[in-house]
Each structure stands twice: as C-alpha cells, then as structure tokens.
Amino acid sequence: MDKLARQLRDDALKIDCTISEELDERIRASLQGITPEPVQKPGATARPAWFWWASSLTGVVAATAAIVIINVQAPEPRPVAENPAVTPLVLPTIKWNAETAVLTSPLEQEIEDLQSDLKKAEEAVKQDIDRLF
C-alpha cells in the first residue's frame, strides 16, 4: 500500500460514524413496519400456452386484413403533367484565388514530434494503470 492509499484509509477512519441510539431505534422501528416483497417465482406470471397461440393468430389475421385493405383501396395513378416548363438554372461563377498550402519541413517535423510525444504519453499512462491496479 502506497503513501496516498494509506493516508486515504487512515483519513476515512477518522470520520466519526457513531450511529446514535435514536437513529438505531428509528431504523429498527421502520424495519418492523415493513414486509419484504416476496421472491417472484419464474413461472408465477407466465401466461398459458393458448394465450400465445391466440395472440399469434390475431396478429396474422390483422396483418392479412391490412394487406387486403391497402390493395383494394390502392390510389389511381396520378396524371402526368404535360411538358412542365423547365427554367434554366444559372449558377454564378466564382473566381477562386487560392494557393495550395505546402507543408514546410519544420511543420512536418513538428507533427512527427507531437505524434511521438503522444505515443510516449499513452505508454506512460498505460504503465501507470497496470502498475496501480
């Protein structure tokens, strides 16, 4: 156990946790007035087998009825509009005066350095976690 862990444990023990007689009595009285909920047996709320058959059958009938209704009341095909007027869309042309950015060698070097620093930091954290827990 390291210094911090020892100190945390010792400091926790310094917290006075004496339960007063009054509280003890209060808890006891509350418990007396309660009945624990009964353990639920797995089969207690299960439905009878015929329920699932009836439920499945109802579902199938409902689905069939829905399909039939949809097909019977299928909407007539919409009339196609005759020669809709086509308005030409004119997009304004934009002149871009942009230059391609070129990474100079110091920037590339910096990215590599940062990546290697990140890798080192990740390894250090992993080692710390493995060491502590």
Binding site: A5, A12, K14, I27, R28, L31, Q32, P36, V39, F133
Partner: protein, 182 residues
Amino acid sequence: MSNEVALIAAARKGSVAAFTDLVQSYRPGLFRFLLTRSPSYADAEDALQDTLINAYRYLHSYDARWRFSTWLYRIAINNVAKLRSAETVELGDLRDERSDPLAFCIADSDRQNLWQCARRRLTDEVFTAMWLRYAEDMSVNDISAVLERSASWTKVNLLRGRRILESELGNYANDDKSKAYG
C-alpha cells in the same frame, strides 16, 4: 459467507433480526460514506435509514453473484442522488463548516482530512470510486458494478483521482515546509 447467505434467506422470509445482523457490519462504512455525500448530518441519517429500508424491502432482487456490500452501496448511491436532486446542493460549494457533516465528524488534526479535499476537487463519481477503492477496499470490478461503469473507466478515473490528490498532498507538504522554514 455461508452465514451471510443464511441471514439473507431468513431476512427474505421477513426476519428483521436476521436483516439487522446481516447489515450490522456494513452500517459504519455505509454511514461514513453517506456523511461524505450528504449536505447535512440529518440528511446522512435519513439516507442511511432509507438505504436499509429499501435493502430490506427489495432483498428479493439481490443477486447472490454480487457481493452484498456492492448491492448495498448501489442502493445508498441512488438514495443520495435522490436527496441531492431534491435539495440541489453542490457539495463542493459547501463553505459553512457548521452545516458540513464531514467537518463536524472529523477529529481535530494537524492537517486537513484528504477526503474533504477530495470532495472539493473530484467529481461525485470519481470521489465515490476513490472512496470504494481506498476506504472500502473494493476491487475495480466491484466498483464498476456499483457505479455501473466499465472497468477501464474505473481504472482511468481512479488514476485521475490519485493524480489530483497527489498534487494536493504535494501542496500541503510545500506549505508545511514553508511554515517550518518561515
């Protein structure tokens, strides 16, 4: 452990005496934890009472694959959360020592109790993880179960909590040195 199983079975059948025996050894630790998490001493007492009542009432839902303490702490944390949402008190902002149960319950010492510092500097979840690890000696897996977090979250946040408290410890040490050398 077998004794605990027998007590749980008896308590499930309605024996208050068995339940009282069952939770007897957990009560001090639980109350300590609630004192650190509640805005007042009275609230901590109420939270303990509610935790034990809920544990007794819903004992049927306890799954024996988990440690009993893990389950008990889960209930306690829920109760504290309810209490906090009702009162909307930020524990980190407690400035008045008269209303702070932790300041009231800590014996006089030459330095500040680290848990007071932890409460000020850490988030609720990280504080709880640190408490379960270092005050209750729970495993990372049990802490993850109590907090409903992954084991890797727990490990990373325990490490984060440690780092923060270590830096605080370093500050105290520097303060002491500067006092000693004027």
